[in-house]
């Protein structure tokens, strides 16, 4: 919703904020400005060093205005706690005074990189429910000041807020309870399951390609280490040689990316901890950059449990939640309606037995035991199989016959049993359940996903019938809430029997009639 408090004329009650930033703030402000240039700069250094470009060093002059601006920012920045809300005074030439009502404040999150921790400070993001960018970004405060700010904000809200009676528990930081902790061994597992290493390899590859590393590969000839490979013994293997080599390279690549993944997991999620603080959940994680996030329970729109094949191999699942507005701590350019891509973990990894307990910490109404799961339409399997087969045959038939001649039939027909197995398993593992309080759906067999959303969070319901649906008397249904912006978080189910879909749509539509406000 449009946040009027953003630009509300401050000091309406004559309040002047007096508190200052931490004395070292300018370093962080400057570093942050600098970051926007840093990739261009690194690229310039790498590319420039090849050409011996002296003009490069001139670009470092840009640092002087950056530092000056940062010092000025620290000089003029003031914040304070008025009767109504948090007041922030800032501005270089254009002064800006922002008042954020205490009762509107949803999160006071902190993020600390190595540099922050060296100085014992933190970057603070004050968020309301408007989603997208944080209402106020305070760079940087000492830890004691952060604690004081949290206390002031939540204490004021406890007394001042009449509109949000649910909040008063949030003030009590003391009654916190650890719900989940991930030891390094779990993070190693997470790294093995998650494949972030591949992304890094791709990124490095992309960077090398961009910086011209591959441009003159031909002139440079093969690197020296290639000559040390025992080519002769490989040649003796004849036809098997390339296969062995290929497998070896493949195994090395897999191994390397997995090791990278483990390192990334250890660095980003080190010391992951999920705690309950009053009514809210809080997560803390990170080795180098320490992130502390508050997941306000009344903003939780849905919870998702994901289990890939690797998850199941390690007997684990991943849990994440969607928040209204979808605001994460991630920076970047955000416009309303667009969410940050950062995952809001409830648990990056946990045992399946713990999943329900943790989901219930976020959505207390969820009760997965004894749910009456309903399946897709009886003919859904046939439709999925036909759809896949038709698509495959249309795509593959012509090229296959052109290249292979008579063998083509084999290539074209070989995957059909696979499609049949897929359709069978998909239908078996996909379904939905409607409870008095929430709507649950599960999808997929290779990667199994279970999503639950409380019925009083549902914004609208859409039933769609394609021409194919109509022929088979089926329909698909999609539920919208305030946190489903990301494609992977869509709450959509296809191939339902039309009668079921219609009754389900009607029941879900009726859900929010007496719903409590969800506080988005």
């Amino acid at each position: 919703m449009p946040s009027d408090e953003r630009t509300a004329p401050a000091g309406a009650d004559g309040f002047e904020p007096t508190l200052k930033l931490h004395p070292i703030s300018w370093v962080f402000v400057a570093v942050n400005h600098f970051k926007q240039f840093v990739f261009a700069l690194i690229a310039a250094i790498i590319v420039g060093s090849n050409r011996g470009d002296a003009g490069l060093w001139w670009s470092l002059w840009i640092l002087i205005p950056l530092v000056a601006a940062a010092i000025w920012h620290q000089w003029v920045f003031r914040y304070g706690f008025s009767e109504r809300g948090l007041v922030i005074h800032e501005g270089l030439f254009f002064r800006n005074v922002r008042t954020v009502d205490y009762e509107r404040i949803e999160n006071v999150d902190t993020q600390r990189s190595v540099l922050h921790r060296l100085f014992g400070v933190a970057e603070v993001r004050v968020e309301t429910s408007s989603g997208g960018k944080p209402e106020a970004l305070i760079r940087v405060l000492s830890l004691a000041d952060v604690a004081a700010m949290r206390e002031r904000i939540f204490e004021r809200r406890g007394t001042a807020s009449v509109a949000a009676p649910i909040d008063h528990a949030a003030q009590s930081e003391a009654e916190s309870e650890v719900l989940l902790e991930l030891p390094p061994s779990e993070l190693v597992r997470y790294g093995l399951i998650d494949n972030r290493g591949l992304i890094i390899v791709a990124a490095v590859f992309g960077f090398l390609a961009q910086s011209g590393y591959f441009d003159n590969l031909q002139e440079r000839g093969p690197p020296t280490w290639l000559s040390r490979v025992p080519w002769d013994s490989l040649a003796e293997l004849r036809a098997v040689g390339p296969v062995v080599l290929g497998l070896l390279v493949f195994a090395l690549l897999i191994g390397f990316t997995r090791v990278l993944s483990v390192i990334v997991a250890l660095a980003t999620l080190y010391g992951f901890q999920l705690t309950r603080a009053g009514e809210d959940l809080r997560t803390r994680f990170g080795l180098l950059t320490r992130v502390s996030l508050t997941l306000r329970r009344r903003r939780v729109q849905a919870a998702h449990q994901t289990a890939t094949l690797l998850h199941r191999l390690f007997k684990r699942v991943s849990l994440r939640v969607d928040l209204a507005g979808g605001a994460g701590p991630g920076g970047g350019v955000e416009s309303p309606g667009q969410t940050t891509q950062r995952e809001l973990w409830l648990a990056p990894l946990c045992a399946p037995e713990d999943a329900e307990r943790l989901i219930r910490a976020a959505l207390p109404q969820v009760q997965l035991d004894g749910l009456e799961w309903r399946s897709l339409a009886p003919r859904a399997r046939r439709r999925i199989f036909r759809l896949l087969s038709t698509m495959w045959i249309v795509v593959s038939a012509v090229p296959a016959f052109a290249v292979l001649g008579n063998w083509a039939a084999l290539v074209v027909l070989a995957p059909l049993p696979l499609f049949f197995v897929h359709a069978t398993l998909y239908v078996r593992h996909t379904g939905w359940a409607l409870h008095d309080e929430f709507f649950a759906l599960r999808r997929g067999w290779l990667t199994r996903k279970l999503s639950v959303t409380p019925r009083n969070r549902i914004q609208s319901v859409r039933l769609t019938e394609s021409p194919f649906d109509r022929r088979q008397r089926m329909a698909s249904i999609e539920v919208d809430n305030a946190g489903a912006a990301a494609v992977s978080h869509r709450l959509k189910l296809r191939y339902l029997p039309k009668d079921d879909a219609e009754r389900l749509a009607d029941a879900l539509y009726r859900s929010p009639a007496g719903a409590e406000p969800l506080g988005a």
């Binding site: 919703m1 009456e372 019925r455 914004q459 859409r462 769609t464 305030a482 912006a485 029941a507 007496g514």
Partner: protein, 178 residues
């Protein structure tokens, strides 16, 4: 397939009360608006195809002979589409108002039915294009706090009807219940 039936109700308002809701069509004048809009929309396409045909004829390409026949057929098809589609859409487009909110059914090949509870409406727009103004119809746009279907549109309402519908939808939900 003997599955226990799920709890369809469970919400404060269960379906038993059977409100006096019925599907209502929108204003028939919207057909004319859509026909004009479709015709105007077809002009650039028809024009481009015409230029291409003529240039092929001038160039003496064998393609020109085919296009010479095909072009009138294309024009006829466009005109028929512009005539038929709005009427067909009008026949499908229905809305239903009940104590909870509004349900809109739309689409010819891909049919959608969007249901939106009144308390979920954040704000509304009534918009009129120049053609719509000429025919006295309007589009009612309902905004939710959702993330995928943030805007649900009901086109083709008579202007006064759109205003009445908006007032009716806004009277209970004051936008507080996000």
């Amino acid at each position: 397939m003997s599955e226990p039936s799920p709890s369809w109700s469970g919400s404060p308002a269960s379906g038993d009360e059977a409100p006096l809701a019925h599907d209502r069509p929108v204003d028939p004048r919207t057909v004319a608006v859509w026909r004009w809009a479709a015709l105007i929309g077809a002009i650039p396409f028809a024009g481009a195809a015409g230029v291409f045909t003529i240039s092929m004829l001038i160039a003496g390409s064998p393609l020109g002979d085919i296009l010479w026949i095909a072009y009138p057929v294309l024009l006829a098809a466009l005109a028929a589409g512009a005539w038929w589609y709005p009427a067909a859409r009008y026949r499908r487009l229905r809305y239903r108002l009940d104590p909870i909110g509004i349900t809109i059914t739309d689409g010819i090949l891909w049919r959608t039915q969007s249901s939106l509870a009144q308390v979920r409406i954040q704000h509304t727009d009534i918009s009129q294009g120049p053609l719509q103004r000429r025919y006295g119809v309007a589009t009612l746009k309902l905004y939710t706090a959702g993330s995928r279907f943030t805007k649900i549109e009901l086109p083709g309402l008579e202007y006064g009807e759109a205003v009445k519908l908006r007032d009716r939808l806004l009277e209970a939900g004051d936008g507080d219940a996000v």
